[in-house]
């Protein structure tokens, strides 16, 4: 796998506005994004899978993703799988916090129990983030070892929202039809940066990287490889 831009975990909350548990998902996700693991996480609005472009839909194919749902309908987990990619983890608030909606306050304003639930779910999400990133942790304190994770920047912390950013994609002609490949611009940039010139060995490595983020039918692999190499050669010419 190429050393693409820093791997982060995607958090997708259902944000269900009708029930208190939906508010718990949103605030818990925000707590992870802003306070608990700001350097390791990124989010995207669930509706962007429908309303956004291919780059938005590539989100869960690019990032290992944690879906956080307020109820058993599991809108976030199921929609993410339907439109983007299967979440690595699916959390349902009711499984973690055995209380009914009334016990948590209202969807508009959580009560003290609701805010405690936010903290519990946020901690659960953070543990999954650490596991997915395979970070090294002090198992007694539950805190990251100083050298194992990127240092947080000082100053105001803000949730990293992927709205409008998405994952870069590139469209190629493969065997006479258009195919959009996720993360291809990043892969090209990375290969070029380390000085890999277009060659047969580079082709093999490129295709290995491409297949991490994109389904490539085995019967069309040669056509994909040819198209990817043509684009990479053009990319190298353009960036030299």
């Amino acid at each position: 796998m190429p050393d693409l831009p820093k791997k982060k975990v995607g958090i997708i909350a259902c944000s269900g506005e009708e029930i208190a548990e939906g508010t718990v998902t949103r605030l818990a996700a925000l707590q992870v994004l802003e306070s608990l693991r700001p350097q390791q996480t990124v989010t995207i609005c669930l509706p962007l899978f429908l309303a956004g472009g291919e780059g938005d839909r590539a989100f869960a194919r690019f990032h290992p993703t944690i879906a956080v749902d307020g109820c058993e309908k599991r809108c976030a987990a199921r929609s993410t799988e339907m439109y983007s990619g299967k979440p690595a983890v699916s959390i349902v608030v009711g499984d973690s916090v055995p209380a009914n909606s009334a016990g948590l306050g209202s969807a508009r304003r959580l009560n003290e129990a609701g805010m405690q639930a936010v903290g519990q779910v946020a901690e659960q999400i953070a543990r999954h983030v650490d596991r997915l990133l395979d970070g090294k942790w002090d198992r007694r304190s539950g805190q990251p070892l100083a050298s194992s994770l990127p240092q947080e920047e000082s100053g105001t912390r803000q949730a990293t929202c992927s709205c409008g950013l998405g994952v870069p994609v590139q469209t190629l002609q493969v065997a006479g039809r258009e195919v959009t490949l996720t993360a291809l611009p990043l892969i090209f940039a990375q290969f070029r940066e380390v000085g890999k010139l277009p060659s047969d060995s580079t082709k093999t490595e490129l295709m290995r990287a491409v297949k991490i983020y994109n389904p490539v039918p085995s019967e069309e692999e040669a056509a994909y490889a040819q198209a990817v190499m043509q684009e990479y050669a053009a990319f190298c010419r353009g960036s030299s």
């Binding site: 909350a13 259902c14 944000s15 269900g16 506005e17 009708e18 939906g22 949103r26 605030l27 996700a29 925000l30 707590q31 994004l33 802003e34 989010t43 609005c45 669930l46 509706p47 962007l48 899978f49 429908l50 309303a51 956004g52 309908k73 809108c75 976030a76 199921r78 929609s79 339907m82 439109y83 969807a107 508009r108 803000q158 949730a159 990293t160 929202c161 992927s162 709205c163 409008g164």
Partner: protein
């Protein structure tokens, strides 16, 4: 009044504007016109189950989007609903330049005032829509 107007806010999580949209929607559906409106969570529409699509189909919706990507309006239309009015929080910000919102988990005072102003606008639109229905 038989059909309630659906109020569909953006479910944005990373910006204050999404919170303003949501708070405005709560103010409309819980405080200003609870009898005439119903809050519709966007996540249910994204999932697109038949039951939800049926509830949206034929109903009039007012969408409140937090950014120009207009997820709420696009998803409602995609689910077969009718967007009677598609509002943008950014437009409300332009109409109320003194109310620059901040805060995501919890809005600051400006954000709360902006959400309330937005809710009042929506209330007027709901009244027009429901009057149109009753006169039809």
């Amino acid at each position: 009044m038989k059909e309630k107007v659906l109020i569909v806010p953006c479910s944005g999580i990373g910006k204050s504007l999404g919170t303003v949209a949501r708070e405005g929607a709560y103010a409309v559906t819980e405080d200003l016109c609870p009898e005439r409106t119903k809050l519709m969570p966007l996540a249910l529409l994204v999932l697109g189950e038949e039951e939800t699509r049926a509830a949206v189909s034929g109903a009039k919706a007012i969408t409140i989007d937090g950014c120009v990507r207009a997820c709420a309006a696009k998803v409602v239309e995609g689910a077969g609903g009718t967007v009677a009015h598609g509002l943008q929080v950014l437009d409300a910000c332009r109409r109320h330049p003194d109310l620059k919102p901040s805060g995501i988990a919890e809005l600051d005072e400006n954000g709360r005032k902006l959400a309330q102003a937005l809710a009042e606008e929506v209330k007027g639109l709901v009244e027009n829509l429901t009057e149109e229905v009753s006169h039809a």
